[in-house]
Structures are given as structure tokens and as C-alpha cells.
Assembly symmetry: C2
Homo-oligomer: 267 residues x 2
Amino acid sequence: MSDPHDAPVGTPRTARALAREAITREILAAARARLATDGPAALSLRAVARDVGMVSSAVYRYYASRDALLTALIVECYDELGAAVERAEADAPRDDLPARWLAACRALRDWAVAHPGEFALLYGTPVPGYAAPRRTVDPATRVVRVLIAVVVEADARGSRPVPAPADGDAGDARAEGDAALVAGAREFAAARGLAHDAPTEAVVRTLMAWTALFGTVSFELFGHLVGSVTDTGRWFDAVAGRLAADLGIHRSAGRGRAEATAPSVGR
Amino acid sequence: MSDPHDAPVGTPRTARALAREAITREILAAARARLATDGPAALSLRAVARDVGMVSSAVYRYYASRDALLTALIVECYDELGAAVERAEADAPRDDLPARWLAACRALRDWAVAHPGEFALLYGTPVPGYAAPRRTVDPATRVVRVLIAVVVEADARGSRPVPAPADGDAGDARAEGDAALVAGAREFAAARGLAHDAPTEAVVRTLMAWTALFGTVSFELFGHLVGSVTDTGRWFDAVAGRLAADLGIHRSAGRGRAEATAPSVGR
DNA sequence: CCCCAGGCAAGAGCAGTGCTCGCATTTGTG
DNA sequence: CACAAATGCGAGCACTGCTCTTGCCTGGGG
């Protein structure tokens, strides 16, 4: 729009652009506050406007629509969650793979428990008319990228996940089919230069584990564990520990899963 | 309300009560249709009223609030899903445990794929102000009851799920802790006379598997598998098959997991 | 230092929502 | 058959997302 020739687009120089950016952030912050308290479905653009002392129509100067505001929120939350998981995993001792796995898993749950509304926005029922734009998919993959990195490293150290169930007569055909199953994920990874050479079974098992972790957190936050599991924190640790074992993540590398040592899951 | 002395409460005799019940069902059916097309968040009582040729306020003669209508929908959907899973499992040959497991799992996914709006209502983000009343929890457990029945039977036939990862020094303390983890679930089961004597690890693994199945379906329906997995049907089967193996569900009983035969997962 | 274009906020308005209340009308029961 | 209860309607309240017009007011080029 402005800056016809020289000014760098990413760096607003004029006072007006500065103010604009500040207000844009203020609106986003107010929206996050509402999101945290009321949940995504109840996120009202008018209420956000009131919180920042504006009339609703004024907000449209900064976000084209409710969906645009939603997209900004989604990207911010994916990045926050991804950063939390990355940091937790990075802080664990490098040679203790189970600890790294558990740290990443716990960071996921801790963030979700601390931000249930945001979690619901990211992983709950999609907003009816809303379709997530492309720029959300990359931040969305940060968590699973951490997980697969740990699994791939465990694999490189000689561990192997629980083998895929052999299929009666045609075992090899099955193995090929499995590779095709996760071809999309592998392509995606290769496109940004990570773990494109991971064994198929490791990819499959990691995707399964990620799904199970999500399911566990989702059940806890959405109330499907009420009455069955009381200590949800310990329950989550138990799940994460078993998943690690199924993935062949052991403390000492180079062993089979039978005689290997499992992560310590005390809290 | 009426029937002060003799008429059975559950069996309306008067024509008026008959008509009332019919209209009540008609409203519920219209709401389900809207739910299927627009999703739970967009479920509008006014739109439902229009569909049945009423004005919105008239609906309140039959359902006290939108939440009451929601509750009726939830119960109906839980029952429909539960019945579908029960039927599928019952139709599989009794001695083929993997087939029974896979049939139950597929019935779950098939129903969810056929009814994404309903699935979102049951397992997606809870409606903001809404708190599910007690009478929804029993129908909600029908699916997991089928799953645990299969696992318990496999256990009785001598199979064992993948063992829990031993915890370094204090293995027994861990085992006791695990039992406490799922004490709620066991209590719940005991209260209605089912599987109260199932081994702790079987209960834990079943709950984990149920969570993983939910997560898989949820990821598929909510678009978190786009780009990673293309053939979601085969992916689901692969997940269900691996979960069965982890649960110790094999075709021939009494074997260890290493030399056992796995389910055939061709589609 | 001036001045005005353009960014910006306000407000009215539209179509929709859940829900309440008073009134008329039907209905079928005793 | 008469009367009360059950029922449907419509207006109205407070709210939502979003559009469009109006007018202020200020940033920054001349």
C-alpha cells in the first residue's frame, strides 16, 4: 500500500505505522484473554472491541474479519505451544532419550492444561465457516517434529519400536503399503529437510503416539475422563511412558525392548 | 404432570400426549439434520423451529432451552454410536478376537465419518455454557465397554498385553500406582457388574487404545491429518491393528505376542 | 509553519441468535 | 357442551458479525 519505493516492508518507520502495529497487538492480546476465559466459540469480536475501548466496527480496520483474527490467534498459539515443547525437550539431558520424550510430552500437556481455551481453538471442533489458511500448517507441525526427532535419534542408536503386526500371508506387501500410508508425512518432512530417511515403522508409530497424546489431553480437558481417571497428571505420564516403550525409546541404546530400562515416571 | 392416579407414566394414553411426543421427536429429528449439515456450533434453535414450521418461541414448549435440546441430541447420538459398535462387534465370529476388535473400531470410525457433526457434538469442544447432565454418561460409555470386553476375553484366553515399562528400582510400587490410576474406571464398571476383575494393565491399555482411536478419528475429521496421511481409512486400520497387537489380541489364544498371528487388515 | 489528504473511530443499520412474556386460539377432556 | 389446559404466535430484549456513511484529527509533505 504505502512505502512505494525504498522503506523495508517489514519495518514500519512512520509513527502511524508504529501505532497501528501496537493497536493490532493490543487487539490480539485482548482476544487471547477472552479466549482463555470464555473459549473459542464464545469469542466475540464486539466484546474484544469493548475490552480495548473501541467500537466493534473500528476493529475491522485491523482485522478484516473474525476469521482473520482467529487465524492470527491460531498462529500465535501454535507457535507458543511449539516453542514450549521445543524448549522442554532441549532442556533435557541429550543422552537421556526417555527424559527428552517425557519432557516434550509433559510440556504439551502442561501448556494445554494452562490454556484450555487455546487448546480447544487449535485442536477442538473447527469453527463452522472457518478454513485454516496455509500459513497455519507450518507452526502446527512444531510439536510432532520434536517427537519424531527423539524417535529418530532412538532409532539411530539401535533401538527399534514394537514391530508392526505381520499380516498372515502377505507380510511384505503390508510393509510397502505402510510406507505409502505415511508418504505424505515423509514428503512434508523432506520439503524442509528433516528426518526424511526415518524408517517407516518409526514414522507410523510416532504419528500414532502423537495422536494418542493429543487424545489423552483432549479427553482430560473435554471431560471424558471424569469418573474414570482422577489423577490425570499421573495418568498422562503413564500413557507417555508406555508410548515411549512402544517407540523403542530406552535409556541405554542398542538393546531390544525386552531387557531395556524404561523412563522413570514419578512426579 | 397429568395422569394423577392410574395411567402408566411411561405410556402416554391421551391423544394430546401422543401428539406432543410426536412433535418432540420431530423437533429432535430436525435438529439432527441441521447438526449433520452445519455442525454443533451453528445449531440454531430458530432454524430448527423454521424447519418444523414453527416460530422459535413455540419450540420452548417442548425443550426448555437450547441446552436441553442439546442434551437430547447427545444422548441419542451416544446411543446410536454405541449401538453401531455393539452390533458390529457382535456380528463378528466369536472366536476371532482380532476380527471383533477391528469390527468395533471400524464401526466407530464409520459412524464418525458418516456423522461428523454428531461426532463433533459428542467428542469435540464442549459448548461454552453447557454442562452435560448425568444421564449422558451411561450412553457415553457403551463404546469403551465393547472394547474392554474384547480385551478381557483375550486376556482370559491367556494373551497378555505389552507389559508396562518397569520403573528402574521400584517396580512393584509402580504397579500399585497404576491400579490406583484406573480405580475410578474399575469402580464404574463394578457398579454395573462388568469386568471388575480385569487386570490393571489390560484396563490401562484399553483406555489408552480407546483414547488413541478417538484421537485418530478426531485428527481425521478435524483436518489434522491433511498432508500427512491421504488414505485415512487404511491409516485407521493400521492404527487399530497395532493397538490390537499391543493389547495382546491375537487370533489364536494362549500365545505370547512374538509368535502370534495378527489381524488381517486389508480393505 | 501550514494545511489537507488519508487514516481512523463512531454510529446507524441489517440479518441473525437465545430467550421471555402476554395474548389468542385451538383442542379434547371430563 | 363448556371450560381449562395446552399450544402457537408475535413482539421485544440483548446480543452477535459485518457493512457503510460520516466526520474528526493528525501525520508529515511542501
